[in-house]
């Protein structure tokens, strides 16, 4: 290489590289869902704490969740949670391809199975929780 001169190295910026392409931004949006999943876990832990403190503490906690700020926060988390779910299910055929006999099951079938499972699990939770 020395015979041809020194090659030029283009440095990659460790900040803001994800603005270079929309696909990187989509990736970062997916990664950032973790902040909201973590926030939801915190709310659930807080719920357990209030529940362990007695009836009054629980009712206050539940009332807080129904206030506009509580609803707004939960809706915000919901948006990111749904993005996490869809981005997770959409790539399942890549991580877990299914070969039956000679051929691979079409990826769409694996994705659809996950969406169906998601629907069933959601309805089951709502049913067991006494919503209907």
């Amino acid at each position: 290489m020395s015979a041809h001169g020194k090659p030029y190295v283009r440095e990659v910026s460790r900040y803001g590289w994800f603005f270079r392409s929309p696909r990187y931004l989509r990736y970062m949006a997916r990664e950032v869902t973790c902040v909201f999943i973590g926030l939801h876990a915190l709310i659930l832990i807080m719920a357990l704490m209030r529940l362990s403190q007695g009836r009054e503490a629980w009712e206050v906690f539940l009332a807080n969740l129904t206030r506009p700020a509580g609803v707004a926060l939960q809706l915000l988390i919901l948006v990111f949670a749904v993005y996490h779910s869809t981005s997770w299910f959409n790539v399942t055929p890549k991580a877990m391809p299914v070969q039956i006999g000679e051929n691979f099951l079409p990826g769409a079938v694996i994705v659809a199975a996950h969406y169906a499972g998601w629907l069933v699990a959601s309805v089951a939770v709502l049913f067991l929780a006494g919503v209907f």
Partner: protein, 247 residues
């Protein structure tokens, strides 16, 4: 046959005289059905013979003409001019050092490719008289998709993690290791795992998925790497929780 003047903005770098690269503009009379590589060839033949770039087959098999076209890793022979408007910006593949103009230094990839032993390692060598290693169509299909890799390195140019952490073995090399691991005739998985299941291997991948989006042969490296992660995780639990079961 219609003709159009295409404005090409090409990154130039001469290691003997330049301290850094600069863009050079060419106005190229092009046929409508040309690809970017045709335009570059026209520049070299009729406008500026000093322009350097790699190419060979002109049909997306050799993997030589990978470059950034309007910021996207593409094979220049597969990038049709009719899909572009305005000035077309052509740069060498991202994440690789520039040797000259559009020619990059690919030693890093070649070294990594060698490290993962991308060839069959049979359990024991057989004399030719012993005959073929048989394989069923299902066993072939299990890894066939990964054999389509042409080592064009577009996936390395697309992978932000490789750009940020250059020691990462990267999409194509790990995918090719996976290709041989999945081959029923092979017994070399443990040797390859030493490389691809290391910290520099598959664990630097955060599943951005860009590699699969830019792959001109639809190899789906991102899928291969996730499968390697799952299998390496199963390995880990077997090696640490079931000590007797040394594979």
């Amino acid at each position: 046959m219609s003709e159009r003047i295409v404005e090409l903005e090409v990154l130039r770098f001469n290691p003997e005289t330049d301290s850094e690269p600069r863009f050079q503009r060419y106005s190229v009379p092009c046929m409508n059905e040309w690809v970017v590589l045709d335009a570059l060839n026209h520049v070299k033949e009729s406008i500026d013979p000093t322009l350097s770039y790699r190419w060979s087959c002109h049909m997306a098999v050799c993997g030589s003409c990978g470059m950034m076209i309007n910021g996207e890793p593409k094979l220049a022979c597969k990038a049709f001019l009719r899909e572009y408007e305005g000035v077309i910006r052509v740069e060498p593949l991202a994440h690789f050092p520039i040797q000259r103009d559009l020619v990059t230094v690919i030693d890093d990839f070649v070294t990594k490719l060698k490290r993962v032993k991308p060839y069959l390692i049979p359990k024991e060598d057989q004399p030719v008289e012993a005959g073929e290693f048989w394989q069923s169509p299902a066993e072939l299909k299990r890894y066939k998709q990964y054999t389509l890799c042409i080592n064009c390195m577009l996936c390395y140019a697309a992978c932000p993690e490789y750009g940020l952490v250059p020691k990462f073995i990267g999409p194509a090399a790990i995918t090719l290791a996976h290709r041989y691991n999945e081959d029923s005739r092979d017994s070399g998985r443990e040797e390859r795992q030493q490389e691809i299941a290391s910290n520099e291997g598959v664990w630097e991948c955060s599943f951005v998925g860009a590699c699969s989006e830019v792959c001109p042969e639809h190899v789906d490296p991102a899928g291969a790497l996730q499968q390697v992660k799952i299998k390496s995780t199963v390995d880990w639990y077997q090696e640490h929780l079931l000590p007797g079961s040394k594979k």
